[in-house]
């Protein structure tokens, strides 16, 4: 299956195999997202059974183009299709398109500005109307409609001259070269023009409460605050679906989520998954399968580089050396998560494995500070030029694992003459202006640097992305390095994966040297499924464990 589908992409078979090796999670064959031959379709059995997915946040946004959070993705991926999808190996696969446009196949012009996408001709909306290039045009235009409460507009705002060449072909021009757009389109679900074009206010359309897509499942019903139910779409153009119903059940508490997984009420624990402290017990439950799935997010100790304490590299190096990461990972996270040196997820094709490993060494940390002239004052806290090496640290209150990490750090920092004061905030408060406008000294948070698994981290690392200084991104640590800026710009304008990899390897090297933030570990999610559920596979390149419900089936 993998071979058949990957030969149609911009990446050669050799590349694909290399990617799979690099990804290290190529334990399953890539799902067949490009449809199936008619013979296979006729041989299919009727979809049967039901899968109940547990989520600890409630999905509430069903128009996939509107501002939404990760948990809504679980529903969107089942109801809708995008032009392309990102498979578990990080390879782009055609979805509503028949091929992924590249400079090689002529889908993207040599200068990177003119794009052409060819579409399938056998796709129908859940209400029976045919899907055409007009829907794609409408979707991309709706996103940039100033009245519409759209989700991300990055990339989309560069699209000009959208032209429907035929029902199965659409072209556009980009205002500037922007390679990540290809990945962005994997999270841009296409919505039906005929149901939305006549709405005076697209934010209040009936469609938003009862969406109609092209996906493997149709909207069935929603009991607000409790669950929502999707039903198999027998006319789905792709492989599947094999189960008759998918239910997304909202379970607001992670402990209760786990209890209901144990009791058998839910078949799959999606976000926020099983807590690491339950991993050991969960993996011994009869009739349950528990998997460790690498996530895209990296838990880090964020430094506000505009604070005088952190301007010097030696201080950042000393703090990094004073982190007992092994103890934190083993004692607090039960060894479930893994150490990392970079913001790039380990499964990414662009992950640089050659970065120097952090070493916990308090003597080295003290020497770094001594050499840099930070000397202990009368209270034992180091200072230099009137600046004390003391700061606040904030994380989301109520997250007891993070609170334990803080205590570990507070202790080892104290041993090198650094005073860390814990000052936590509820998530709803922390991630407002406090975080976005860099009002913290230091913060602990799990952050995803990539958008739709594209390696471009401009929004997190470029000096133009500092919101506290009027920038447009979320470079909350206020990191600024002209070389990184230039490389990020180059990377965003390069299409060839090999050439891009070189660029992002270098960026990771520089960031590892500069230490704008101190990586604690790469996230790993504990995901439980009921025995007998087949066809479920994790995909670290999406934000949800339910990215491919079309392939799920119960063992007969």
């Amino acid at each position: 299956m993998t071979k058949e589908s990957t030969t149609k992409t911009n990446i050669s078979r050799r590349d694909a195999l290399r990617l799979m090796a690099a990804g290290g999670i190529a334990c399953f064959a890539a799902p067949n997202l490009i449809g199936k031959p008619d013979i296979a379709r006729a041989a299919d059995k009727k979809p049967a059974g039901r899968v109940v997915v547990g989520l600890s946040q409630e999905p509430t946004v069903f128009n996939p183009l509107m501002a939404h959070i990760e948990v809504d993705d679980a529903v969107h991926f089942s109801l809708f299709d995008a032009l392309f999808r990102m498979d578990p190996e990080g390879v782009l696969q055609p979805n509503l398109a028949v091929e992924v446009p590249t400079q090689k196949n002529g889908g993207i012009s040599a200068d990177g500005l003119n794009w052409r996408v060819r579409l399938r001709d056998d796709v129908r909306w859940h209400d029976g109307k045919p899907f055409t290039a007009e829907d794609v045009k409408f979707t991309l235009e709706l996103i940039t409609n100033p009245k519409f409460r759209a989700w991300r507009t990055g990339g989309h705002s560069l699209v000009r001259d959208l032209t429907v060449v035929s029902p199965t072909e659409i072209t556009w021009r980009m205002e500037q070269v922007f390679a990540p757009y290809l990945s962005f389109l994997t999270e841009t679900f296409i919505v039906p023009k005929h149901l939305l074009e006549n709405e005076a206010d697209p934010n209040a359309a009936a469609f938003n409460q009862a969406p109609v897509g092209t996906g493997a499942f149709k909207w069935s019903q929603r009991v607000a605050g409790d669950h929502l139910e999707l039903a198999a779409n027998p006319d789905y153009f792709g492989d599947g679906p094999y189960v008759e119903r998918v239910v997304f059940k909202y379970i607001p508490d992670q402990t209760v989520l786990y209890t209901q997984f144990k009791s058998g009420d839910i078949d799959l624990t999606d976000q926020a998954y099983i807590t690491p402290d339950h991993y050991d017990e969960a993996s011994k439950l009869p009739g349950r399968v528990v998997s460790l799935v690498p996530g895209a997010s990296v838990e880090s100790f964020y430094l506000n580089l505009e604070r005088p304490q952190f301007k010097e590299l030696a201080v950042r190096q000393a703090l990094y050396a004073a982190m007992d990461r092994t103890a934190i990972i083993d004692a607090v996270y039960f060894g479930v998560v893994t150490p990392t040196e970079t913001f790039m997820p380990k499964e990414s094709f662009y992950f640089n494995p050659n970065l120097p490993a952090q070493e916990f060494n308090l003597d080295a940390a003290r020497k770094l500070l001594d050499d840099a002239g930070w000397v202990p004052g009368s209270d034992g806290i180091r200072e230099k030029n009137g600046v004390k090496l003391a700061f606040n640290n904030s994380t989301t209150s109520g997250n007891n694992l993070r609170e334990q990490v803080q205590q570990f750090l507070q202790q080892t920092f104290a041993e090198i003459g650094v005073q860390m004061t814990i000052s936590n905030l509820p998530a709803a408060v922390m991630f407002g202006e406090f975080w976005l406008k860099s009002q913290f000294d230091t913060a602990i948070s799990g952050v995803t640097h990539l958008i739709a698994a594209d390696p471009d981290a401009t929004n997190r690392l470029a000096s133009s992305a500092i919101a506290a200084k009027g920038g447009k991104g979320s470079n909350v640590g206020q990191y600024s390095n002209p070389e990184v800026d230039a490389l990020l710009k180059k990377g965003a304008q390069t299409f060839d994966p090999e050439a891009r990899r070189e660029i992002y390897y270098r960026i990771q090297e520089i960031v590892r040297q500069d230490l704008p933030f101190l990586p604690l570990f790469a996230a790993t999610y504990v995901i439980g499924t009921k025995e007998g559920l087949e066809g479920w596979e994790p995909n670290s390149n999406t934000r949800t464990a339910s990215w491919h419900a079309a392939g799920w089936r119960w063992k007969s």
Partner: protein, 316 residues
């Protein structure tokens, strides 16, 4: 009676106005705001956040936002949820039934058992039963609902497998029996605290009545103890309880919060907590006004009912 009603009505309007202003200001003072949920999303640039703030009207001065909201409310428009875009009253309505079901069944249990324990404890004052009831009530009030709920789930769901571990019904089976089956554990857990409160109040109320002259008169008339208890004692002791019930009614909004979380019950308490977590201002304000109106109306109703039942109370 008419001037009483008019006064109460005028007072209520002022009260609602004050509640709405304080609620609106406090809610907006909490840092974070509705856009904090996108704070960790790498793709939402500051431009995107500013655009959303403008589209939601959040960048206007606070007084303007309040007047806009209040003016719409006066015309019957409670606004739309920031989260799912549905009208606020519809959002409340969806969760109200779940809470009423849970509160209703637990209130019935609490009143029945609480009345029995309270009356028995008062009649047989300082008996072993009375002491046990007192201690039992103390224990029930001290146990956190969360803990009791989890223990209940552990014993009856995970160990014995008799009762469901939570949820309002099994997905795919919406029969009455299924609802009842799911209702047992959470209503008992929720009733526990209310039994304790109710039995204490009932005991005091009964003791008040039992020593009254008219009970002596009833005894002197030669009525049986049973008849005295059922007709004269309980009937009169229940009077102050109507006020208590009226005061407890608004707790449908928050009273079941913990129970709703443990048993994944999609009620009002959870809606309130979730809406607060996402700073869904229209829904939080809607719930606040809804509960304020409920407090006003139920207190008024309790006063009127007591006045009708007990002719000694004159409302003039």
């Amino acid at each position: 009676m008419r001037s009483f009603l008019f006064n109460r009505f005028a007072q209520s309007l002022v009260l609602l106005l004050i509640v709405s202003v304080i609620g609106f200001v406090v809610l907006n003072l909490i840092p974070g705001g509705p856009l904090a949920q996108f704070g960790l999303d790498a793709s939402m640039t500051q431009d995107d956040l500013n655009r959303l703030a403008e589209q939601l009207g959040l960048n206007r001065p606070l007084w303007m936002q309040y007047l806009d909201w209040a003016w719409r409310l006066l015309r019957g428009d409670w606004g739309h949820s920031f989260r799912d875009g549905a009208p606020v009253l519809e959002v409340i309505g969806r969760h109200l039934m779940a809470t009423l079901l849970l509160m209703g069944s637990s209130t019935v249990i609490a009143i029945a058992i609480g009345t029995w324990i309270g009356v028995r404890g008062a009649v047989k004052r300082y008996s072993v039963f009375d002491y046990m009831a007192t201690v039992g009530a103390m224990v029930a009030l001290s146990i956190p609902t969360f803990w009791f709920g989890l223990i209940g789930i552990y014993v009856f769901s995970l160990r014995l497998g008799w009762l469901p571990a939570g949820n309002m019904y099994t997905i795919g089976d919406e029969s009455v029996l299924n609802y009842l089956h799911h209702l047992i554990l959470p209503s008992i857990v929720l009733a526990l605290v209310h039994v304790a409160i109710w039995s204490r109040y009932m005991r005091t109320a009964t003791l008040d009545v039992i020593n009254q002259e008219f009970i002596k008169t009833a005894r002197a008339k030669g009525l049986s103890e049973r008849r005295i208890l059922m007709k004269h004692v309980i009937g009169n002791a229940l009077l102050p309880m109507i006020t208590l019930l009226g005061m407890q009614l608004p707790s449908v909004l928050t009273g079941a919060l913990v129970t709703e979380t443990v048993f994944t019950w999609p009620g009002m308490g959870r809606l309130f907590l979730d809406s607060l977590g996402y700073s869904d201002y229209p829904v939080v304000m809607g719930l606040l006004m809804f509960s304020a109106i409920l407090v006003v109306v139920s207190n008024l109703a309790a006063d009127i009912v007591v006045a009708i039942i007990d002719p000694r109370i004159r409302l003039s």
